[in-house]
Symmetry: C2
């Protein structure tokens, strides 16, 4: 690429919204990414960083001088600065903080005092507050004087002189009220304040429940400390929904699609190691039946069928239950109900597929006892798969282990082992020459 | 439950928000659901229906008389009525439409004229329009006269006398402007109108890209026909993200956790049938090696290892690529890049795990050639798994088949067959007595 090309690309980038630039960086390899980053107008750097996913952001920040990070941070929202600073190593973090002016530093340090995944960690501090005893007219004159409102402002917060939160008044109720109406009469009863230490997943659920656009955040003393807007909540909802998908394949939710080969290999090998251990357990079970396997090669050939069907049926139940837990459909009160239901589904599926598979085997090998053996094993394994698909995620949840991460491995181990035992065990008993 | 209990429950339900009632219905079996539905205040029925997922909603509507459906529809938003009506059988639909008053009928029929998954299908028609040449003062006086605004109104739409869309003016720019300012000078350049036939996934992306709270919808002639608010967009984002998770297990995104046993069994059996066919293909491959399997039982015991590792490694790549395609990270321009990367990751993982597995096998069986055989097969299968994990979803996407639905089955079939071929084939060649 010659220098004329560079100028061209730089101009092109100036026209693009931050979201598109972030998408482009996320779609590039780590080397190209750094070159592209240099070509983006530094005034846009802050906005682009806000839009990037965590792992890509880290890979860019790692290569930036602390002064530059501080310069970029200046144009960003407080919650986003805090998010960026959290990903920096301590030494760089100190340098960045030191180059900030006093006001910014205090605000950022306050934001950092809240846990990352709580309301305090995702809130912004740019609220507009009004007193309960003023009239609509006074508020409108104040707003005109102000000239602009913070982005995504749909309501104002009513506080007393000690900043204690009293209530929320929507912008639309202010424009539809008569000029002499007192603010305290316009307070919206449907809006309650969110505590700063509330987990972000709970915050997201409140937004969905009440169709909020924004919500006030208060500290433990009931003082207004900030507000959360729906664009931050969307990110949480997307991450949460993606989390199950990625975890079930043993991947990090924020995994960078174009991470360097060695890094990706490292990240994936953990999961492959876990799988190897469980696969070796299945091998160990098979090897207990070496005798009959060496006598009847057909058993060796059919040995994968029952575990495979059990794994698929079990994973269907597991996925349904994991989603049910995440959506709040499955709790203590109805976990027994879903267990019975899935046991019944497993049993019924077992019945259907044991008939089908027995038919296939009898037609193929003209051996009725072999058909009986595999039918029985299928029956047992699909029923066990149904029960495991319900019990594993519920138990993991109780033990505070993420069911999406560990559930599938444990389930497959169980359906493999039960499947092999049921098939080769019954075969040893019924078919031994 | 006696009648006193019924009264108690009925009162309890009256205090609960629609979202919680919907959650409760979704967490119940189909029988309990109908009883609970009767206990909910009929005035709330509309709101609760709006919150329910599709399959549960259908199961309730199926049991309602058409007049009741029409009565419930009265209190609902037009887009939600349209959504409900779409799920009804034609005869019931006609009856419901006939009991509606003229105005509602025209509006609903207009909403139904748009495809379900487009901007037109999810929009509402309750927009507030203003003329470009009036002053802020006139608008404010008009709003005060109106008294209330439609829910979630954050902006007004400027149209000419033929309803042609000119632009959008935010509520916050109106309250901060001086009284004599002309509306046309306040038009927000960042807001563009959405065409009514735009697919809902694209609409969601625009909302995320520009952090919109709402957006105007226009028809093919540029006339304003409605608006979309972010709460509808959140549902789309959640569904989209859940779609991959559910499809990969062969489940419908809207699957009802507590569907009746027979229905669930039916729904799952399709997927199990597909799996049985692919598993039988693997069995057919194994049976080609019946000779060596009957001579060396250890091969039968180890036969599951290589396919299992290939399946896991391939599914990791597949999940990453499916997510990458959904997020727009992977397109034509960089699909070759990701293929090379995943081939390299597969090869490297193959190297690591073939060394590990060869070590385990040599230590266990004191047989170096057996170690070599399994190491070679592992190497081949993990590399093939990496390539398949990239190529399968990209090809399926090009053929307009959902990669999340079909990808995993095809991938596992390939890794099973390649794994067995590589392992038993090499064994036949190297170990035959």
């Amino acid at each position: 690429i010659d220098s004329g090309m560079f100028v061209y690309v730089r101009n092109l980038f100036q026209e693009m919204p931050a979201y598109d630039l972030a998408l482009m960086l996320e779609s590039s390899t780590s080397k190209t990414r750094l070159v592209l980053w240099q070509l983006i107008d530094p005034d846009m750097h802050g906005e682009v960083l806000e839009e990037l996913n965590e792992e890509v952001r880290k890979s860019i920040l790692k290569n930036m001088a602390p002064e530059k990070v501080a310069a970029v941070a200046e144009g960003m929202d407080i919650d986003d600065i805090a998010e960026v600073l959290r990903t920096l190593p301590d030494s760089v973090y100190q340098q960045v903080i030191n180059t900030m002016d006093h006001q910014d530093r205090t605000r950022v340090e306050q934001a950092l005092s809240y846990e990352e995944d709580t309301a305090g960690g995702i809130m912004n501090t740019d609220t507009i507050t009004i007193r309960p005893d003023v009239t609509v007219d006074v508020v409108l004159r104040y707003l005109r004087l102000k000239g602009t409102l913070p982005e995504s402002t749909d309501s104002f917060y009513v506080v007393d002189r000690n900043d204690l939160f009293i209530g929320s008044v929507s912008l639309s109720s202010i424009v539809t009220a008569r000029a002499e109406v007192i603010i305290s009469t316009l307070i919206d009863d449907d809006v309650t304040a969110v505590k700063a230490d509330m987990p972000e997943a709970d915050v997201a659920q409140l937004f969905e429940k009440y169709d909020w656009f924004s919500a006030p955040v208060i500290d433990e003393n009931g003082r207004l400390v900030g507000r959360i807007t729906i664009d931050d909540v969307i990110d949480i909802i997307r991450e949460e929904a993606e989390h199950s998908l990625m975890s079930m394949a043993g991947l990090d939710d924020e995994a960078d699609t174009f991470a360097p080969v060695v890094k990706s290999t490292q990240q994936r090998s953990v999961w492959l190691a876990v799988n190897l251990v469980t696969a070796l357990m299945a091998v160990a079970v098979s090897s207990m039946f070496e005798g009959i396997l060496s006598e009847l090669a057909i058993l060796a050939i059919l040995n994968t069928l029952v575990p495979s069907m059990g794994g698929v049926a079990g994973n269907q139940t597991l996925t349904l239950v994991i989603r049910g837990i995440a959506l709040g459909h499955i709790g203590d009160s109805n976990s027994r109900l879903i267990l019975y239901k899935e046991l019944a589904v497993g049993f019924l599926n077992g019945l259907i597929w044991s008939l089908v598979i027995a038919g296939v085997v009898v037609l193929w090998k003209q051996d009725i006892s072999l058909g009986l053996v595999i039918a029985f094993a299928m029956m047992v394994n699909l029923t066990v798969a149904g029960a495991s698909g319900v019990l594993i995620p519920i138990l993991l949840k109780k033990m505070n282990i993420d069911p999406a991460l560990a559930g599938s491995v444990i389930l497959t181990t169980i359906t493999d082992i039960v499947g092999i035992f049921a098939f080769l065990g019954t075969a040893t008993w019924l078919l031994s020459p």
